[in-house]
Subunit: 134 residues, 2 copies
DNA sequence: AAGTTTGTACGAAAAAAGTCGTAGTAAATA
DNA sequence: TATTTACTACGACTTTTTTCGTACAAACTT
C-alpha cells in the first residue's frame, strides 16, 4: 500500500518526464533527455535536475548501482491520470463528469469500436448500480 | 467571429476568475474578490491586478462607464473547456479520449439519468458517422 | 468643505517552475 | 598514465504567475 499523502500534482514538465518513464521503463537521464529533445530542446542538466527534484518529491525512484542512475516512475500512470482528472473536472467542468464526457466525445472523432467499448462500460455501470440498490 | 489567435490557456487563477464571471455575469472587482474569498483569502488589489492582466490578454472585456468597472468574460465557458480539454487529453491521456471517458465514468458515481444522456449521445454520434459514410 | 471610503493604476516583491553553468569524479581511451 | 568523455551534485539565474503596497482620484458623509 503506497503511503502517498499528497494529492499528486506533477507540473507540466514533470508529467512529460513521467510519460517518458511510463513508456520506456527505467531510464537513464540521458535517455529521458533524448526523448525530451524530440519534442523540445532541453539541456542535459535541466533534465537531470528535474529528475533529482522528482526524486525528492518521490515521484520517481532511482537505482544508483551503476554510475548512470536508472530512474523509474514511482507513481502509476492510472493513479496519476485519475488524480489529475479529478482536479481537472473540478476546476474546468465544475465537477460535472457528464459534461466533460459529452465534450470529449462530441468534439473528437471517436471510432465506432471505441463507441462500442463505451457502450459496454455504460451497461456495466448500470448493472452495478442496480445491483447495489438491493 | 472572434479573432482569437492564441490557443487559450488561462492559468489556474485566471480560470477561477473566469468561472466566477461565467456564473455571475458582468461583475465588479469587488464582487469577484468576494467570491474568491469564499474559497481562498485574496487581497482586493490582487484580484484587481489579475483582472487587469486578463483584460490585456483579452480574456475579459470591461465597461468603464461607471467608476467601478464591470468586467465580463470575453471567452465562453464552452470554448475554454474545449481548449483545455484538448490540451489535457494530449498531456495526460496521450490523446485517447476513450481512456479519459472510461476513467471519468468509471471512477465517479454517475446517475442513471446521466448515463442515459450519454447513451443518447452515443446513438447520435453513431447515426452521424454512418450518415456521413454515404 | 474636510474627511473617510471606495475605486483604479502600476511597480515591484514573493513564489513557483524551469533552465543552466560550473565543479568534481569515475570511466573509457589514446 | 595522460587526456578526454560521461556522469552527478548543486547553486544560482530566468521566466512565469501571484500577491501586494503605495499613490492618487472620484464620490460619498458629516
Amino acid at each position: 500500500m503506497p503511503e502517498n499523502k499528497a494529492p499528486l500534482k506533477p507540473t507540466d514538465t514533470e508529467l512529460e518526464i513521467l510519460q517518458i518513464l511510463w513508456q520506456n521503463g527505467p531510464s537513464t537521464v540521458r535517455l529521458v533527455n533524448e526523448e525530451q529533445n524530440k519534442t523540445k530542446e532541453t539541456g542535459y542538466t535541466t533534465t537531470l535536475k528535474l529528475l533529482q527534484i522528482m526524486f525528492e518529491k518521490n515521484l520517481v525512484t532511482r537505482d544508483e548501482e551503476s554510475r548512470s542512475h536508472l530512474y523509474q516512475a514511482a507513481v502509476t500512470e492510472e493513479e496519476t491520470q485519475q488524480s489529475l482528472l479529478n482536479r481537472f473536472l473540478d476546476t474546468t467542468f465544475r465537477g460535472s463528469a457528464m459534461k466533460l464526457v459529452m465534450q470529449a466525445l462530441g468534439n473528437r472523432k471517436t471510432s465506432p469500436e471505441e463507441l462500442d467499448q463505451i457502450r459496454h462500460l455504460l451497461k456495466k455501470l448500470e448493472d452495478e448500480s442496480s445491483a447495489s440498490d438491493s
